[in-house]
């Protein structure tokens, strides 16, 4: 168990190292730097730009900058964001929890709903319930998250005004509100972005879970369970689900990177001030330390989440028989 | 009678969690020209691994295998290809051992093509002759394996092995998956082929009852080792090892 844990940790570190290095190297080839774009206007004298470059180390050779940057990274320093005029760590510290909230809520809701749908579909295999959910979940996977988000924003938000279309909180002096009102306000703003993301998760989970369940339902031990006189729901929930859920959890781990990608777009669409929005702003401003930090953290998030799901899958799924 | 195949201290190991598992543990055996040596043991006793190691289908860890005096384990390139012509195999599951995407004619012809044994037309004629020899019809060449019954598929697998005109056949549980009646027919076919072509068989089985009628000698394997090797009648009359006794006792005694 410890050996596996160490292996996973090493793997996560390897992923992050590869990502960090490649992003850094690629940025070296990129045209322009913050001082070409961030300090806009022709009236900024070249000497000011040069001074800025010197202050932030942009005049150093790439190798040394990389060494400095990784050194700082190892010490936990992410650098200074020129576009936000704040430490990168602070910017990230604000944004990351919001992204975690968005992705976490979507993941939990989506997973629970997906498994539930799949159970109903399995119980009523080939009947109308199965077909109905089959069509719905197909729609859910066929429509990319950001398209769902756009449609939801158009109708639920802009047309019918049921939910706010942007931001994380209502205007006003939020600090003065009672706690529960702030929470309700947050959830109200969370509804559309998290809902759009959860829909995508639920559809994917439901389709995979249904396929896995139906596969397991053909196994001999399901026949044994039925031969005991167990009811069909009992057979499905007690015997089929534990054998079918492991692969789905593992698969969810594999799908997480794309979920993070979807979350980035959704944040942009709904103006949810998380890591995705931060990344887009940073890209526009060519704010390298922030870009690096955002990409690295998003990757880290995906890797951590994947490691966790794999561990969970391993836990849920005790050793299977290995005999020939 | 001289030995066609001499196995000395052969060891086959598989990597497993935390080290190696010895599937075959220092086995020494001779297979004589023209005989049928039965190799019998429970599942996991290493008999299949032994059969595959002889044919170089799995690597041997140590020991030696001599085929007609040649060191099989050292063969490479053309010499190995030539050895493959002379020693062939028929597997247990005729469904798994035939490529489902190839028609029967192509299956049987593959060996002829690989070793360039005949021109295209001659090869077709040979395939037809082979199919007839194993009790199928020449017209079956265009059909696919799934259109045949288990026994017929096993006949196809035998025809494929015979196509390269081998001297030695490893029959790896070749009749175990077949029903009693079909098994009997395939065994009869194997006997006839042996007589007609002077073949030598290594007949692998998990059940003593199957080998009684066709084996010259029987070797009993247990946990990777050969624990007993004796002429068939002697082994059935006076089994020396515990493994052989247990296998004999397991043959159902039908109250005729």
């Amino acid at each position: 168990m410890t050996r596996q844990l160490v292996a996973r940790l090493l793997h996560a570190i390897a992923v992050c190292a590869v990502v960090a290095t490649s992003v850094f190297v690629l940025l070296q080839f990129a045209p322009g730097d913050p001082f070409a774009t961030a300090l806009d206007g022709a009236d900024v004298p070249p000497s000011v730009r040069a001074e800025g470059r010197a202050r932030y180390g942009f005049d150093l050779p790439p190798g040394e900058r990389f060494a400095r940057w990784t050194g700082a990274l190892v010490r936990g320093e992410l650098g200074y964001s020129a576009s936000r005029h704040r430490a990168v760590a602070d910017v990230v510290g604000d944004a990351l929890p919001r992204t975690l909230l968005l992705v976490g809520v979507a993941l939990v809701l989506g997973f629970a709903a997906g498994v539930g749908i799949a159970l109903v579909q399995t119980r009523h295999h080939r009947r109308w319930q199965d077909r109905l959910f089959g069509v719905l979940t197909l729609g859910g996977v066929a429509m990319p998250e950001f398209l769902v988000a756009l449609l939801a924003m158009t109708w639920l938000g802009a047309r019918w005004r049921l939910f706010p279309v942007a931001g994380i909180g209502s205007l006003g002096d939020a600090a003065a509100w009672p706690v529960w009102e702030r929470i309700v306000d947050l959830l109200w703003h969370l509804a559309l972005p998290a809902g759009a993301l959860a829909l995508a998760v639920a559809s994917r989970v439901a389709r995979h879970q249904r396929a896995a369940l139906l596969g397991v339902m053909r196994e001999d031990y399901i026949r044994t369970a039925r031969a005991k006189g167990l009811g069909e729901w009992n057979v499905i929930v007690r015997h089929a689900l534990p054998n079918a859920i492991g692969p789905v959890i593992a698969l969810l781990g594999l799908a997480l990177p794309s979920l993070v990608g979807g979350a980035v777009l959704i944040e942009r669409i709904f103006g949810w001030p998380g890591m995705g929005l931060t990344l887009f702003d940073a890209l526009l401003a060519r704010d390298y330390p922030l870009i690096l930090a955002a990409v690295l953290l998003a990757t880290l998030l995906a890797v951590v989440a994947r490691t966790v799901t794999e561990a969970v899958a391993e836990f849920v799924v005790p050793r299977r028989a290995r005999e020939p | 009678m001289s030995a066609l195949l001499e196995i000395r201290d052969l060891v086959v190991e598989y990597a497993s969690r935390g080290g190696h598992t010895r599937a075959v543990d220092a086995v020494s055996l001779d297979v004589m020209h023209g005989e049928t040596l039965a190799l019998v043991g429970e599942s996991g006793s290493g008999k299949t691994s032994l059969g595959r190691a002889i044919l170089r289908l799995v690597p041997a860890a140590s020991g030696s295998v001599r085929f007609d005096g040649e060191d099989v384990l050292a063969l490479g390139g053309d010499a190995l290809r030539h050895f493959r012509r002379r020693a062939q195999v028929v597997f247990q599951d005729p469904k798994a051992s035939l490529d489902p995407r190839m028609c029967v004619g192509d299956v049987v012809r593959e060996g002829i093509d690989i070793h360039a044994l005949a021109t295209r037309q001659e090869a077709n004629r040979r395939v037809q002759r082979l199919l007839e020899e194993v009790g199928l019809s020449a017209a079956d060449a265009g059909r696919f394996p799934h259109e045949f019954s288990g026994g017929e598929r096993q006949r196809i697998a035998i025809a494929r092995a015979l196509a390269v005109e081998p001297e030695f056949l490893v029959l790896d549980e070749a009749v175990s998956a077949l029903d009693v009646l079909v098994r009997r027919q395939v065994l009869d076919l194997l006997g006839a082929l042996q007589a007609a072509r002077g073949l030598t068989y290594l007949f692998i089985a998990h059940d003593l009852a199957v080998v009684e009628r066709i084996a010259t000698r029987v070797a009993v394997m247990q946990q990777g080792r050969v624990v007993e090797c004796a002429p068939t009648a002697a082994l059935f009359a006076t089994p020396a090892s515990g493994a052989a006794q247990a296998l004999l006792a397991a043959i159902p005694r039908i109250p005729w």
Binding site: A158, S258, L265, R306 | V89, A96, R101
Partner: protein, 281 residues
């Protein structure tokens, strides 16, 4: 028996519908210049014909620049599906080659390929592509194909490697080896035909992954650049008019969803057909 999988696929109503939709999309893309009622970049009257709702003249309405949306969606199919198909072919070919190499050669080659897959698959693809495009500035469609395709070979490589390894263990491959067949012969005559249906599944899945990727990139302004239309940038034009001009969102969304959904259905049904063949008589 492989023929069975294809036949079973064509027997399936869902699969036929999916093939029909994809075929129609490809035809529409191929013949867009002849089908489309207008020039997709023509701006006849940016004042009078701005944001006209769907009508007989403009079945999908017009956009903020008075361009005909139907014509843009049709021409967009050319670009979107072209990029998607190119990227799909690239990623499937690359994945099949690397997966096969890893399985057949084994040893350190397998270690390198599997390790690479393990590391890369943990990365958010969209994010990396966005970051790359953003740093390099906008890319030509060819570079987009290279970038999207080059980042998508992982799944195919995994599938092909696993299938090859499985089939290498099977008795029919052992029998071929016992006959003296060379590696190449086994790969060409036995393994590739065996994994062909799986490759088709991988291709359909790759297509389903790549279409939204291109749409997403264009939607955030980093993919196909105007005035060249793509499904993603038609959406982008529509985001500012969500409440007033629904047709700018609905038609490109429908186009993306229908093609992606069809590709997914196709992959699904193909998988069922393969499974049925493995379990069947």
């Amino acid at each position: 028996m492989a023929a069975n999988a294809w036949r079973q696929l064509l027997d399936d109503r869902g699969a036929r519908a999916a093939i029909g939709v994809l075929g129609a999309a490809v035809l529409a893309a191929a013949f867009a210049p002849w089908i489309a009622p207008y020039d997709p970049t023509l701006q006849p009257d940016p004042v009078a014909l701005r944001l006209v709702a769907p009508s007989w003249q403009h079945p999908f309405g017009t956009d903020p620049f008075s361009r005909d949306v139907l014509s843009r969606v049709l021409h967009g199919a050319r670009v979107s599906l072209g990029v998607a198909t190119g990227a799909m072919l690239l990623s499937v070919t690359l994945g099949a080659a690397l997966g096969a190499l890893a399985a057949v050669v084994g040893g350190w080659v397998d270690g390198v390929v599997s390790g690479l897959v393990d590391v890369l698959i943990a990365m958010p693809r969209l994010l990396i592509v966005i970051a790359l495009v953003a740093t390099f500035g906008t890319l030509s469609p060819w570079w987009l194909i290279a970038l999207i395709g080059g980042s998508g070979w992982l799944t195919t490589a995994r599938i092909v490697r696993a299938e090859f390894r499985d089939h290498l263990q099977r008795e029919y491959v052992l029998a071929a080896r016992a006959l003296g067949a060379s590696r190449w012969r086994i790969i060409w005559h036995h393994l590739l035909p065996a994994v062909a249906p799986q490759l088709a599944v991988a291709a359909a899945l790759a297509l389903a992954a790549v279409i939204p990727l291109e749409a997403a990139l264009s939607f955030v302004g980093l993919g196909i650049q105007p005035p060249l239309p793509s499904w993603g940038n038609i959406l982008l034009d529509g985001t500012d008019y969500l409440t007033s001009a629904w047709w700018l969102v609905v038609f490109p969304v429908a186009a993306v969803s229908l093609t992606v959904g069809s590709a997914l259905v196709l992959a699904d049904r193909l998988r069922v057909a393969i499974a049925g063949e493995e379990h069947g008589p």
